[in-house]
């Protein structure tokens, strides 16, 4: 008779669970932990998973079905679990949809079921099940289309979905690590361990990855002997040898979730699961392996019979695992149903542990004699040529009905509270398929197996079709030999393999996996997405017989388990119903990840402040002292405005603008991209990039330049300065510095490699301060320049090299504000000193520091375009008033040929214009319509602001055929509201440009 643990341990009345076996297992009965399930206190032993602890206490109900909200219990003991999706933790540390079969219980763990309201025992959504026949496959597609999906979306979103999403920032810490090795072994069962042992003995660097927290795979439940030792002892010896080898890395609780190009494998190590004190929760490993052995095992498949979703119906191998590894009986009376030999060993172990086994039902007419004899000896009747026709019970299993397949004989009712079923095994081919390895259907094993040689890696163990430990060891030796030659290490696999004493068994799996008869809408294929045989019938009737179509129409295998216990059954059912061979039906595509990967792990430490390095200006401390509000732009922390006490943002910006117009302002322009172009062919090289003529530029002068791509689209602008016959310095937009640097180098290396020219990026070598305003010259003269600043000696658009107070400087007379302006460049280490010196010199003139906001407003008043803001990916020079210059230049340059393409000369192109008006809709993003247009858009506002200088609102816009529309009015259009604005000439301020000559 069964001997169960008495209920007298730990928390009074709870014990270790009424279903805990008195002996055996790998859990530590002396270490009892308390946890809460659905708010109720329970106990677990060290080594328990949440699933094993719940089963130990007879907690059968772990969740509700996705669609019909039917009660569901634990099905499996691994990653394939479709029912036991639970919420672990709470608040920001909530882990939704965790698999109860993988969650290790620790002291204080809190877990609760999902997809049920108000509770798992009483669920309102259960009513859905009673209308199940009205709720077939494709129901959404057909029903919720009138009048529109949106009418139903709210209701459906509340009742659908699995688990809760997190709302706060993830407080956990994650790591990313890189590794290389000669051999990566995925899966540390018998085959994986053997592979790691062989390769490590040959001196190779080995990484051994195991999804479970414990190494061993099937060895953790085996009772046979290996090399004369009990399996568990042999496992301990093997692990000790591997752990002692410094060239071997052991990664338990780690899932190889994806296999990518060139031996790159993604691993997710659940660090905190092994080391609860670790500050790192998960570690994402990027491994580059020279050789790769996949020993990822096989997943047992469920039988399809009526009400096979009742809590208590489990996979046979899982029943065995709970008994052997966790010392938990899945039930007090467990019936087994199988179409292959593997369930016999499960039934035998249960019977030997003292659990009542009323029978084993084998669909094959002739059960394997040796195994059947073993069972009969243990007192377990074997029913050959029979199946479970139906399970019965209320919300939990009470009995099964056994039906003989030949129809002779009567049905037999076996009372039981658990079923261990096996419809064969589906090798975990996922990573093999990620590598584009081919699969072929094996009629003997009734599953898809990897076709050797079709992917650059090797398979071993159950994944390679091995059905005994001896076969696992032999396949591992073959795989290591193949991978050693790929990875380039020498290995001798000719030595004796471990000797296993195990019962003789056959790999043969009966083709039958569906019990005949029964109500088809009560026979489940996919437990997680609630797909039944009736859904497949309907999909086929409606013509969705291609497996990828059927999958999407019925949603089979599309839930978070990705069909690990449903895809093979669905495929074989389709093959049978359509009379096609399984190979002809084919499998659906396996995509990474094998199991879900925490997004935080992929991000690693690159979050928050570490997302990207912040670049600080040389005078950053000065801007802080001045109370600047910083905004990040192109990685730089830039002062946006400098509010004084009591000032609003708008007031501060207006004051800064007016200071520049009236006296002088100071702007930190250090992020401007700067490149030195030197060499005999420097002029020729640069001339190929600008619509402006560079060769004719005189030494000591600067010129504004527009740069195009080959489509003739403006990609950047800036100044070209000639410091010597063979020496230029160009500037780019701050945001374009890296991109334009790469652009120049691409052309230099690939198109004109013979040109004698050197391009040097010097953006961060120089601090740049723009000094603008009518008092600019007077202020600059106080810094002791050795450069003659008089307008005659140093006019607008000239450049001088000299010194300021003894500091080397490159001084430009350019202006983005429309006022007299200088751009002062000094070596970056003098940037802060220059800023302070200009502030001091300008104090008596009321000089004001101004930020990027005032800069953009100053240039808007002048109608100067801001590339990327007032232009888009179609804007050509002719659209912004530079058409004539671009066409006049005789020499070729990048983009020139495209300017005369038909598309670029159309009259209705979007062109940059000025807009004025008082309407509040005159803001960036507002769309424009020409008179007579009632649909669509004729353009949009690109820049707009209230001009403090002019006392009115001004804007720039891209408008259809805009350059010919000065004086016309257009309609402003935004989300149904309309207004009017007038197309106005630019510049709005100082149209003759007299002020910048100051």
């Amino acid at each position: 008779m069964a001997s169960f643990q008495p209920d007298s341990h730990a928390t009074p009345g709870l014990g270790l669970g009424a279903f805990r076996l008195a002996a055996g297992g790998r859990v530590d009965r002396a270490k009892v932990m308390n946890f809460r399930w659905d708010g109720r206190p329970l106990t677990a032993c060290a080594g328990d998973t949440l699933a094993s602890a719940l089963l130990a206490h007879g907690e059968r109900l772990v969740g509700r079905g996705f669609k019909f909200h039917r009660p569901r219990g634990i099905l499996s003991a691994g990653a394939e679990e479709p029912n036991g999706l639970v919420a672990v933790g709470s608040g920001d540390r909530l882990d939704p949809s965790a698999r109860a079969t993988l969650v290790r219980v620790h002291e204080g763990l809190e877990a609760r079921p999902q997809n049920c309201w108000p509770s798992v025992r009483f669920d309102v959504g259960r009513a859905l099940d009673f209308v199940a026949p009205l709720w077939p496959a494709g129901f959404y597609n057909k029903t919720f289309i009138w009048p529109s999906w949106h009418a139903y979306e709210g209701l459906i979103r509340r009742t659908a979905g699995l688990g809760d999403a997190l709302h706060g920032a993830d407080p956990e810490r994650y790591d990313v690590a890189n590794a290389t090795c000669e051999l990566l072994v995925v899966g540390a069962g018998a085959a994986g361990l053997a592979a790691a042992l062989l390769a490590s003995r040959a001196g190779a660097t080995v990484v051994l990855v195991e999804q479970d927290a414990e190494f061993g795979g099937h060895l953790l439940v085996e009772s046979c002997a290996i090399d004369g030792l009990p399996a568990a002892q042999w496992l301990g010896r093997a692990l000790a040898e591997l752990a002692a080898n410094p060239r071997v890395s052991l990664l338990p609780a780690t899932t190889a979730f994806g296999l990518y190009d060139h031996g790159h494998v993604g691993l997710l190590e659940r660090v905190a699961e092994r080391t609860p004190t670790s500050p790192v929760r998960h570690r994402y490993w990027r491994v580059r392996a020279r050789g790769l052995v996949l020993a990822s095992g096989a997943l047992e498949q469920p039988w399809v019979f009526e009400r096979n979703d009742l809590p208590g119906v489990m996979l046979a191998g899982a029943v065995r695992t709970y008994a052997q590894r966790y010392a938990v009986a899945a039930g007090r009376r467990v019936v087994f149903a199988t179409n292959n030999d593997s369930a016999y060993l499960a039934a035998l172990d249960l019977a030997r542990a003292g659990v009542a086994v009323p029978g084993l039902v084998d669909s094959r007419a002739e059960p394997p004699r040796e195994l059947a004899d073993l069972l009969q000896t243990a007192g377990v009747p074997v029913y050959g040529g029979a199946v479970i026709a139906a399970a019965t019970g209320g919300s939990r299993l009470a009995a099964v009905e056994i039906a003989p397949l030949d129809g002779a004989g009567a049905r037999l009712r076996l009372e039981c509270d658990a079923v261990g079923m096996s419809a064969g095994w589906a090798p975990a081919v996922h990573l093999w398929s990620h590598a584009r390895g081919r699969l072929a259907f094996d009629p003997e094993r009734q599953c898809f197996l990897p076709v050797a040689g079709t992917a650059p890696l090797s398979v071993a163990g159950a994944l390679a079709g091995a059905h005994t430990l001896s076969h696992c060891f032999a396949s591992a030796a073959r795989a290591v030999a193949a991978e050693a030659s790929r990875a380039g290490f020498a290995v001798d696999v000719g030595g004796a393999l471990p000797k296993v004493e195990e019962p003789r068994s056959s790999p043969r799996v009966d083709a039958r996996r569906v019990s005949p008869g029964g109500r088809r809408h009560r026979q489940w294929l996919d437990f997680q997405h609630d797909v039944t045989l009736a859904d497949v019938d309907l999909a086929l009737r409606e013509g969705f017989d291609a497996i990828e179509h059927l999958k999407r129409y019925t949603t089979t295998g599309m839930s978070v388990d990705q069909g690990k216990t449903s895809n093979l059954n669905a495929l074989l059912v389709v093959a049978e119903l359509t009379g096609r061979a399984p190979d002809a039906v084919g499998t659906t595509t396996f995509r990474p990840p094998y199991t879900p990967v925490t997004l935080g792990a992929l991000a690693g430490r690159q979050v928050g402040e570490f997302y990207a390095p912040r670049r600080r200006l040389p005078a950053h401390a000065e801007h802080e002292r001045l109370g600047a509000v910083f905004e990040e732009a192109g990685g730089w922390m830039r002062p946006a405005w400098y509010p004084r006490a009591g000032e609003s943002k708008e007031q501060a910006i207006a004051r800064e603008v007016l200071a520049v117009r009236a006296s002088a302002g100071l702007f930190d322009a250090s992020p401007l991209g700067k490149f030195e172009i030197e060499g005999p062919e420097a002029a020729r090289f640069l001339d190929a990039f600008y619509i402006n003529n560079v060769r004719t530029l005189e030494v000591g002068r600067t010129r504004y330049g527009l740069m195009l791509n080959e489509n003739g689209v403006i990609i950047d602008d800036g100044t070209i300065a000639r410091l010597g016959p063979q020496h230029f310095v160009i500037t780019t937009t701050s945001g374009g510095a890296a991109r334009i640097g790469a652009w120049l180098d691409d052309w230099r290396q690939c198109e004109w490699p013979d040109q004698d020219v050197v391009v040097t990026p010097v953006t961060t070598q120089w601090a740049t301060v723009a000094l603008a305003g009518p008092k600019a010259r007077e202020i600059l003269s106080r810094l002791g320049p050795d450069i003659d600043l008089s307008p005659a000696a140093f006019p607008h658009l000239h450049v001088r090299v000299g010194s300021l107070a003894g500091v080397p400087t490159r001084l430009y007379r350019v202006s983005f504000s429309g006022e007299l302006g200088y751009e002062i460049n000094v070596p970056a280490r003098y940037g802060a000193a220059l800023w302070r010196a200009l502030e001091d010199a300008g104090r008596e003139f009321g000089i004001a520091p101004y930020g990027t906001e005032a800069l953009l407003l100053l240039r808007l008043e002048k109608g100067f375009l801001h590339v990327g803001l007032d232009t888009d990916g179609t804007t050509a020079p002719s659209d912004v008033g530079w058409g004539e210059i671009a066409l006049k230049k005789q020499a070729d340059y990048v983009g020139k040929r495209s300017l005369t393409r038909p598309e670029n000369v159309r009259a209705d192109r979007l062109q940059l214009v000025g807009l004025v008006g008082e309407d509040e809709l005159l803001i960036p993003g507002t769309h424009l319509r020409l008179d007579g247009t009632t649909e669509g858009s004729d353009g949009w506002v690109t820049s707009a602001a209230f001009s403090p200088t002019l006392g009115k609102r001004v804007a720039l816009a891209l408008l259809r055929g805009g350059r010919a529309r000065t004086g016309q009015t257009v309609t402003l259009f935004d989300l149904g509201r309309t207004g009017r604005a007038e197309v106005a000439p630019t510049p709005f301020y100082d149209p003759k440009g007299e002020r910048l000559h100051g």
């Binding site: 990518y260 190009d261 060139h262 031996g263 790159h264 990027r286 580059r288 584009r436 080959e710 489509n711 790469a742 180098d745 691409d746 290396q749 690939c750 198109e751 490699p753 070729d892 020139k896 040929r897 495209s898 393409r901 038909p902």
Partner: protein, 91 residues
């Protein structure tokens, strides 16, 4: 994540590189007709099989070079310097 062998630095991971599209695209002079220019701008090979393409070792030596890559298996069949002719590769 591909593994690409830079002709100057040796094998490196893909994130160190920038992809630059098809190699050996000749730039026409600017007096060609619209159709010829449009082919240069917009028409590229899209083979199932060997593709000759440009890569730049942006976060290494910053040098551009050519790669012959199988677009089905992603196998890198050859790596050669800018300006060198297409290598002979068995189909």
């Amino acid at each position: 994540m591909l593994k690409i062998t830079c002709p100057w630095c040796g094998p490196r991971d893909e994130p160190e590189f920038t992809y630059g599209g098809q190699s050996h695209v000749a730039r026409p002079s600017f007096d060609v007709d619209d159709a010829t220019w449009a082919r240069y701008l917009f028409v590229r090979d899209n083979p199932k099989g060997i593709h000759f393409e440009r890569w730049c070792h942006t976060y290494g030596c910053a040098q551009w070079f050519n790669v012959a890559r199988d677009t089905v298996s992603h196998e890198v069949l050859a790596v050669y310097r800018m300006g060198e002719p297409k290598p002979e590769l068995g189909a």
